[in-house]
Amino acid sequence: MDKVAINLTVNGRNRQALVPPRMLLSDFIRHELELPGTHVGCEHGVCGSCNVLVDGKAVRSCLMFAVQTDGARIGTIEGMGADGSLHPIQEAFWEEHGLQCGFCTPGMLVAATELLAEKPDPSEEEIREAISGNLCRCTGYEFIIKAIRSAAQKLREGNGAAQTESA
């Protein structure tokens, strides 16, 4: 089948590409855009490792075709934070030991970004629910939840400029 031209914004940068219609967004991001920070843990839409932001919403990139993102704004882990400094959510994950092997982490950070953009002061229940679409085999989740709580506080206190838009 013929390739399709798409035009999109990725981490704040305009990108143009010719993609096969059946190419998954996750493959497009990992292999065509060469942004391997987005991980693939199941390709079934069940683990959340492949989460990216599409127009501010956390989306499973393994369930979307690249062509569907024509005109969209995409944020991947590589675009989080600004000018080499960390986003408060990244900082919180670091400080609270919200990761071990790091494989689920990009997807978790994206889920947390979406949550905190919508709910600046989420309850513990809301945090659990928000990341329940994301599997982590290492951490047991407790420190991820703690990290998101801490990130929420940092963001509310304006500790470091929020970069939710570009991420």
């Binding site: 683990c47 670091w94 400080e95 092997c101 494989f103 629910e129 085999r137 951490t139 047991g140």
Partner: protein, 773 residues
């Protein structure tokens, strides 16, 4: 490091400090590089044609169609790699009759018989994954289906289909440990005997990063290179070279970042030698990547035991002897360490109790299922699960409280070091003191009030405990090589392999403390056979107890060398020098040399090796207490409260430690209430995706209270006991004891098997209700 973090040196980041991880900077920015992120120009992609049947004879028909398909470079079947041995089991056991059992290797590709769903029939290499997969599907295979033996216990029956004609009753091996005569004698006269039969359910590892590899061949170097997620490059190399028929020098193994291992990534899998052979044949790099459903059938599974236990007691509930009969499913082949896994359970089979006699009988059984092997804890969770369930059953039979029977039978503090029936020596421990502390923190006495509250919302509440012990860091060593670099930084080379645990941070803490360096000036390197000629890898919670001490000793040796080199330059005596913030200084003056100055001043690079050899294992132990709620209407079980008091001997980094414990406990909660590996009678794996195999998620998990009550090990030079697997070991019996407690109180149910799904729980409760009516 984080830009906001001021440099910290020495003791501030040394042993015992909650240092944040040096690894994280890359992981939180998407800069981690896992196997599938490794790119090679010109790389081809591989796919494996796998058996859809559990047991079948087969012939391969026409291959020309597949070979002629677009992009296809190679279609490999067993006949193309004749003479290349399969992956062999490295853990042959001595049997009861003194013989060593025969071993059924895993063939790289099956020649004429497949023995489990997912067994490998052909290996196809093409320009893209999609092309390789399409070509694999185009291969004509004529299967003649045969009856399979699926059920672990059922496979022992006389009329069960044989997995191998020469293994009657599908017995792979049969061993016995402990003192069987004495045990039999005690049972013959025992006033009380409690018996319990349990299933330890089969698990699928499900690390989030699936396996994969990049295989390369170099004519110039006359050797292979394999990039692969592993738990130790040296063990991987040594397991694969026989399949390739080359010596160790002809295979370099590199391990980049690893997205979880849990024991299961220790092993060599057939796809690795196949990809290497293909890379050599084609003269191009070959990349292979497992997908999630393939992971379910192609990676070693965990657990899968049927165990029958009996405890002989006196009239007061004092344990006299323990008898364990364990049937361990091996699956279709003997996987790399498989026979060792149930055997490892014997190291701690009598747990924290003073039991003078024990017989431990093991039968490994072949079934037409995916082979089993080590999964976090490897045999020890199985042993402690069975024992701690039995202990609770003993308490019920004797009308005693769970803590009461444990108090009565625990090894008294004064009996440490304690030699077990199996010849292991537990060096230190304070069993009942941990239990008391855990009960206090968990507010054990306040349970009734909480149960009353739960009752109001239609929930049955139960409380359970486990007092566990485990053996880890088995006898051995892990040398650490340190080097002062020209820029004054220090490099550490070590043969363990972090899969996310944070070894780089923990090791760097030792270096930082001994050399008064900051974390940023320490580089920890692992995962390349070219950099380090040997190494023990990570497994058995050994990295920190063994590696940590070696790193400390190596760092201290390097500190001395730095001082000696500086003494000459500064014209001072070594005794007058101290290391301070990356410099070496004459005490009380400001005359100093930076480490970079020292490096420049020495003609030869300063290098030190630290090696700590440990003669016995170490024995972490502790108490877990949890509370569960069972929804009477839906059968849904939720763990609602969880308390852990652990004795890890000594703590290197409390935050990393807590992370290890949380992760292990959650894997166990998964095993207890959701993870179910279901084979149907035909040997089809019904639960082969995340849709069917329920994994623990954030909403399934309670808050944890975790604390240590450390009693230093005397076996380990730093008192460390090891912690990577303890969470898994303590948790399954704890959760299940709580679940049984809940339904025993309400329905008189004394036995529940894992996993307790809403359906199985609902059935149990309605059966009990019917019986009562």
């Amino acid at each position: 490091m984080n830009a906001h973090t001021p440099l910290q040196f020495g003791k501030k980041i040394g042993m015992g400090q909650a240092v944040t991880r040096t690894e994280d900077a890359q992981f939180i920015t998407g800069a981690g590089r896992y196997t599938d992120d490794v790119k090679r120009d010109n790389a081809l992609h591989a796919a494996v044609l796998r058996s859809p049947y559990a047991h079948a004879k087969f012939t391969i028909g026409d291959l020309d169609v597949a070979r002629g398909m677009a992009g296809v470079h190679l279609v490999m079947t067993a006949s193309d790699i004749e003479g290349h041995p399969g992956i062999t089991c490295q853990a042959v056991q001595q049997q009861i009759d003194g013989t060593k059992h025969p071993v059924k290797d895993i063939p790289l590709l099956c020649a004429d018989t497949v023995r489990h769903v997912g067994d490998a029939v052909a290996f196809v290499v093409a320009e893209s994954i999609a092309q390789a997969q399409e070509a694999a599907e185009a291969i004509e295979v004529d299967y003649e289906m045969l009856d399979p033996a699926i059920d672990t216990e059922g496979a022992l029956a006389d009329d069960a289909p044989p997995v191998y004609e020469d293994r009657p009753n599908n017995i792979a091996f049969e061993t016995e440990h402990g003192n069987s005569d004495k045990t039999a004698e005690i049972f013959a006269n025992a006033p009380k005997v409690t018996e319990l039969k349990l299933i330890n359910n089969r698990l699928v590892c499900n690390y989030m990063e699936m396996r994969g590899c990049v295989a390369e061949w170099s004519d110039e170097e006359d050797r292979y290179t394999l990039t692969v997620g592993s738990q130790g490059v040296h063990g991987m190399r040594d397991a694969i070279t026989p399949c390739l028929k080359v010596d160790k020098a002809q295979l370099r193994v590199i391990t980049p970042d690893v997205g979880g291992g849990f024991g299961t990534k220790v092993f060599a899998y057939r796809e690795y030698p196949l990809a290497l052979l293909a890379a050599k044949a084609l003269g191009r790099p070959v990349k292979w990547r497992c997908d999630r459903s393939e992971h379910f059938v192609a990676d070693a599974h965990g657990r899968d035991n049927v165990v029958t236990m009996r405890m002989a007691m006196d009239e007061n509930g004092r344990f006299l002897a323990l008898d364990v009969d364990l049937i361990a499913a091996m699956g279709a082949y003997l996987h790399q360490f498989a026979p060792y896994i149930p055997t490892l359970g014997t190291t701690i089979a009598t747990g924290v109790y003073d039991i003078p006699a024990c017989r431990f009988h093991i039968r490994g059984v072949y079934t037409h299922t995916t082979p089993t092997d080590a999964y976090r804890g490897a045999g020890r969770p199985e042993a402690i699960y069975a024992l701690e369930r039995l202990v609770d059953q003993c308490a019920r039979d004797m009308s005693m409280k769970p803590d009461e029977i444990r108090r009565l039978n625990a090894i008294p503090d004064s009996a440490f070091p304690y030699k077990t029936v199996f010849g292991r020596t537990y060096d230190t421990g304070e069993v009942t003191a941990h239990m008391d502390q855990c009960m206090k923190v968990a507010d054990w006495d306040g349970f009734d009030t909480r149960a009353e509250e739960s009752r109001k919302s239609g929930k049955l509440r139960g409380i359970g405990m486990s007092t566990y012990i485990e053996a880890c860091a088995f006898a051995g060593s892990e040398p650490a090589k340190l080097e002062l670099k020209d820029d004054g930084t220090v490099q550490l080379l070590i043969g363990t392999q972090s899969n996310g645990q944070g070894h780089k941070t923990a090791y760097a803490q030792f270096v930082a403390e001994a050399l008064d360096l900051d974390m940023g000036s320490i580089e920890v390197r692992q995962g390349d056979t070219d950099e380090l000629e040997s190494g023990g890898g990570t497994g058995g919670s050994r990295s920190i107890p063994l590696g940590g001490v070696s790193v400390q000793r190596g760092s201290q040796a390097l500190a001395e060398m730095i001082k000696e080199a500086a003494a000459e330059k500064l014209e001072a005596s070594v005794g007058d020098l101290e290391l301070s913030e990356g410099s070496v200084r004459i005490v009380g003056t400001d005359r100093k040399l930076t480490f970079a100055d020292v490096a420049a001043a020495t003609s030869e690079t300063l290098k030190a090796t630290g090696e700590f050899k440990q003669a016995e294992a170490t024995y972490p132990n502790g108490t877990h207490i949890c509370e569960v709620e069972v929804d009477e209407a839906t059968g849904e079980t939720q763990v609602v409260k969880y308390t852990i008091v652990d004795d890890f001997g000594a703590t290197v980094n409390p935050i990393l430690l807590a992370g290890q414990v949380h992760g292990g406990v959650v894997q166990s909660i998964g095993q207890c209430i959701m993870e179910e590996t279901v084979y149907d009678d035909d040997g089809q794996l019904i639960s082969a995706s995340f849709m069917d195999y329920r994994m623990p998620r954030a909403e399934d998990i309670p808050d944890f209270h975790f604390e240590t009550r450390n009693v230093p090990s005397t076996t380990n030079a730093l008192g460390i006991k090891g912690a990577g697997e303890a969470g898994t070991i303590g948790a399954t019996p704890c959760v299940m004891n709580a679940i049984v407690d809940a339904v025993y109180r309400s329905h008189g149910i004394e036995h529940v098997d894992m996993p307790v799904t809403p359906q199985s729980m609902w059935q149990l409760m309605s059966q009990a209700a019917k019986k009562a009516a």
